[in-house]
Amino acid sequence: MAFQEQHELHKRRFGRNLWLGVVLAAFVALVFGLTIVKVGGDRPDAAPDQAPAATEASQ
């Protein structure tokens, strides 16, 4: 059985879903970028020479 011709509604729905996909992908990228900045950033309280000492102390 052949599918019916696409209704205009389907085109609109596809457009909306496509944009939603783009927005979600951008959001994922943003959270990833933020994580990199927050975790690996140049925070004064996370100086690299202090980090190993803290790890040793906890072991």
Binding site: L9, R12, R16, L30, G33, L34, V37
Partner: protein, 311 residues
């Protein structure tokens, strides 16, 4: 099939752009600009990605409150000419969709700003959305002719939030940026109300022009414009001001007061005669007034990088 199609045509599914329109993109551009200025002139540097994320979610939070405002005000938006083409009155988005969209986006914006910047900035954004939607839209807009004055506060918070993103707090500078927009809003909107004559009366919104008459509105515009000037000029004396800002502010306030005086001196007959030319010019100039004040603040901050700017 025919039945199904006709059902779809009666309630057309909203497009992506209709949801964007719910966010009031034009108001959003003002929010982005003032919040970004607040962030950039603050004395604490912010990582570019954190700054970008913060401004994005401040803008989305502002947009979310716009969507909630359109949900609550759908009944009067159908009546006013200016708002008749908004997504809900135009039948593109249902009221339920606007409510859900606004609430979800408010939550996401507040949480993301809190995580990206700091909890104080997130809480401040939540308060701003609450203030605009509950205090202004639901409570005061339809009950007092001072609605515009109160509503102006919601629009004046963004530079304070931008400042809070960088500093994590409030200071004299950010309060004065708030006062600049807060005192600017009433004359800006009352000038609009003077030439958008019947709209607010038709919708039963107690605009000053409707409740106290047009003569009183002209006086109010002048008084607020005069009260605005000291706040605008006081910013020049703070750590984010400087000679460029002072010069710009002197010229802009002089022109703004001159425009307000022109409106105050006219009566309705004179305004009708030239189809509200002075009122329309004052309204147009008010946008430049605010924009250029913030540009001057940015100029001071930009020049400070090279050892110029500031006092």
């Amino acid at each position: 099939m025919t039945d199904t199609t006709s059902v779809f045509e009666k309630t057309p599914e909203a497009e992506f752009g209709d949801f964007v329109a719910l966010l009031k993109p034009r108001v959003m551009s003002l929010v982005v600009f003032t919040a970004l200025t607040g962030l950039l002139v603050a004395p604490v540097p912010v990582h570019p990605l954190v700054a970008f994320t913060s401004i994005l979610f401040i803008a989305l939070g502002g947009g979310a409150s716009g969507a909630l405002n359109m949900w609550w005000d759908a009944d009067i938006d159908r009546i006013m000419r200016r708002t008749r083409n908004r997504p809900i009155p135009a039948g593109k988005v249902t009221e339920g969709e606007a409510l859900g969209f606004g609430l979800a986006l408010s939550g996401i914006s507040v949480v993301m700003l809190g995580l990206a910047a700091n909890m104080f900035a997130g809480a401040f954004l939540a308060f701003t959305i609450f203030f605009y939607v509950v205090v202004y839209t639901m409570w005061l807009k339809r009950s007092t002719p001072q609605n515009i004055v109160i509503g102006g506060a919601a629009g004046a918070f963004p530079p304070m939030i931008g400042w809070a993103v960088a500093t994590g707090g409030v200071s004299l500078e950010s309060v004065l940026m708030f006062m600049l927009i807060f005192m600017w809003t009433p004359p800006h909107f009352w000038a609009l109300a003077l030439f958008m004559k019947s709209d607010y009366a038709d919708a039963d919104v107690p605009m000053l022009t409707v409740t106290h008459g047009r003569k009183a509105t002209r006086t109010h515009i002048l008084v607020y414009t005069l009260l605005l000037a000291p706040f605008a000029l006081a910013l020049a004396a703070t750590s984010i001001g400087g000679p460029i800002y002072l010069a710009a502010s002197l010229v802009l306030n002089g022109l703004f007061i001159a425009g307000a005086l022109r409106i105050w001196r006219r009566d309705e007959a004179a305004a009708e005669a030239d189809s509200y030319r002075a009122e329309k010019r004052f309204f147009g100039f008010s946008l430049s007034y605010l924009f250029l004040h913030f540009v001057a603040l940015l100029a001071e901050a930009g020049l400070a990088q090279f050892g110029w700017g500031g006092w």
